[in-house]
């Protein structure tokens, strides 16, 4: 219980900085309105609407993620997890990459689950592959991608295949790049053992459990996970809404066309839009006419892996060194994937005679 105090110091500084930045952004917003009363209130209104809608869309899934995470914490033991992991590393990575097919969790909910799995002893590389692939390779996302690209079923396969490969490669490389602990120090300590609300002060649950304790424990974990992930999620939603309502899309689109520039444009868009992986296909289809096919595939695989709200949630989970390496890897691997998709998709379409 003593560790509870130094748990906050590291976390607190981050929260304060982020909080202050947010307040600053907010006050700029308010100041603009006071100083220039003629400014369009519509813009402000659109900002609020986008912000609230991201929260409404994401928070339920954060709670679901927290719930799954607490179930793992309570009901799945370290030994069982170690047992089911394949011994072969490549097999393990592949297994981690396709778990999503039966595990419909979106990109908001996956982070608390991943954090829990790493604490339970899953190798970091597998956990990262799992975290990156599940939002792409899950039935709900696949169905919505299918509908968005109706009649262009090859986009669905491109997203699936390139997503799986990218997640596996990133998982493999992160192991080579980073040795040692990946989680934040404070999380590693496993310190937020919440006191159970039942009034008894004996915390040796594992020994003499009665069913009621499970319920309390699950509720406790869910509550604190919701808090931990939710606060970063809300800040992410705030920043994303600000960027979206104040920076015209045309500025971003004007970065350029061409094989490489278009990928950069789509990456920037995927990053700041911060939309759920089940909806981004509908946005992507609008770009298919204007940008190269590889850049659209890049948008579809990078978006679920990395965006504004995700970045904040990653920094709240992993230590700084690891986060930087991971973000670097995600961007560069997805870039390579996008470039190769530019060449591979037209060729394979020709070979297959158009699926």
């Amino acid at each position: 219980m003593e560790s509870g105090t130094d748990f906050s110091t590291n976390n607190k500084i981050l929260t304060i900085i982020i909080g202050l930045a947010t307040l600053l952004l907010f006050s700029i917003n308010i100041l603009r309105n006071i100083v220039m009363p003629q400014i369009n209130t519509d813009t402000l209104n659109n900002f609020y609407t986008i912000f609230i809608s991201i929260v409404l869309e994401g928070l339920p899934f954060i709670i679901i993620g927290a719930l799954i995470s607490s179930f793992i914490q309570i009901f799945i033991s370290e030994e069982n997890i170690i047992k089911i992991i394949p011994k072969n590393k490549l097999m393990g990575l592949f297994f981690a990459a396709i778990v999503g097919l039966i595990f419909p969790v979106c990109d908001c909910a996956i982070i608390p689950v991943t954090r829990r799995l790493i604490k339970k002893g899953i190798p970091t590389s597998l956990a990262i592959t799992f975290m990156l692939s599940v939002p792409i390779v899950n039935p709900i996302v696949l169905v919505s991608t299918y509908y968005a690209f109706k009649g262009k079923i090859y986009m669905l396969f491109a997203r699936l295949i390139f997503g799986i490969i990218a997640a596996m490669v990133i998982g493999y490389l992160i192991d080579l790049l980073h040795t040692g602990k990946s989680l934040k120090y404070s999380i590693q300590l496993n310190n937020f053992t919440p006191s159970c609300g039942c009034g008894c002060h004996n915390h040796q649950h594992n020994k003499q459990v009665h069913k009621f304790h499970y319920l309390f424990d699950i509720i406790d974990y869910t509550s604190s996970e919701t808090y931990d992930t939710g606060k970063l999620f809300i800040i992410g939603a705030l920043i994303s809404a600000l960027v979206q309502s104040y920076i015209p899309k045309e500025y971003i689109l004007s970065i350029g066309q061409g094989n490489l520039y278009s990928i950069i444009v789509m990456f920037v868009l995927a990053y700041i839009l911060s939309i759920c992986s089940q909806t981004d296909a509908f946005i992507a289809r609008a770009f298919l006419g204007q940008f190269t096919i590889g850049s659209v595939v890049g948008f579809l695989i990078l978006g679920p892996m990395l965006d504004i709200k995700n970045t904040l949630m990653l920094t709240g989970t992993f230590n700084r060194k690891f986060t930087i390496k991971l973000i670097f890897l995600i961007i560069s691997i997805c870039f390579i994937m996008a470039v190769s998709a530019n060449y591979i998709i037209p060729i394979s379409l020709k070979l297959l005679g158009g699926v």
Partner: protein, 255 residues
């Protein structure tokens, strides 16, 4: 065991209040139907779930106020207050037509390498090539017509939307636009058809119902300088209408 005396934990109490407030805010949004301004009706069930889940969490939070000894109010609680405060302060009106300034309007559809037409023309289109676009079939017609502009040439079309103009659009032309929501306001796109109309100057953002004949034209994208063949509506009549109750077109995965 010196914790016999009654203790009141402010941190746990704040968290309780916040969860209750968010739960209530979500519930009120659903109850007043204001939620449709923010997210697709398909997604409402998740918000209801979140509201219920937070209520349960809050209920089990109550004993912790007395039982937990060390838990100071965290700074992070402030963050959870942001959506609540905004929710209380702002009267929701949804996205406004002005959003076109930041989001832009899509009128170009990729017409290459599609193998299967979206619209099965015999079944969906009414007799004598008359297309009436309503909220329900808007998305199907929009993509279908934009895919194969030539196939629908000379079809008569009726649709409602708001007028959008920018510098790239020639005089005597405008775009009749709608906001298309997949999931939530953040992923809303503005879509529409280019229209040819010379008789009167329509105000930007005005809601109109138009009837016209479909034609095609070449449109040069301002960024890519790429020509593409897009549908064009030669407008025959324009009628001013009041903005519809639901400003958005919702994409429904199931149809």
């Amino acid at each position: 065991m010196n914790n016999k005396k009654l203790n009141f934990n402010l941190g746990e109490f704040t968290w309780l209040i916040l969860m209750l407030a968010i739960s209530f805010y979500f519930y009120r949004l659903v109850h007043t139907k204001n939620i449709y301004m923010f997210i697709n009706p398909n997604m409402v069930k998740y918000v209801v779930f979140a509201s219920g889940a937070l209520l349960i969490l809050a209920f089990f939070q109550i004993p912790k106020i007395i039982n937990t000894l060390e838990h100071k109010p965290k700074f992070g609680y402030l963050i959870f207050m942001i959506p609540i405060i905004i929710g209380i302060l702002v009267n929701p009106v949804g996205l406004t037509e002005q959003v076109t300034q930041v989001k832009g309007v899509n009128i170009v559809e990729d017409t290459t390498t599609r193998t299967k037409p979206i619209i099965n023309s015999d079944s969906t289109i009414h007799q004598e090539g008359q297309i009436v676009m309503e909220d329900k079939n808007y998305f199907t017609f929009l993509t279908g017509i934009a895919e194969e502009p030539n196939k629908f040439k000379n079809f008569k079309i009726t649709l409602t939307g708001f007028v959008y103009k920018n510098n790239n659009i020639k005089n005597g032309q405008f775009i009749i636009a709608r906001m298309l929501m997949t999931c939530c306001a953040a992923d809303t796109q503005v879509v529409g058809f280019l229209c040819d109309y010379n008789e009167q100057n329509l105000d930007k953002d005005a809601w109109v119902e138009i009837t016209g004949v479909l034609d095609t034209t070449n449109y040069t994208d301002s960024n890519s300088k790429q020509d593409s063949l897009i549908p064009l509506i030669k407008v025959q009549s324009v009628k001013k209408v009041v903005p519809p109750a639901s400003k958005y077109i919702y994409i429904n995965n199931t149809n």
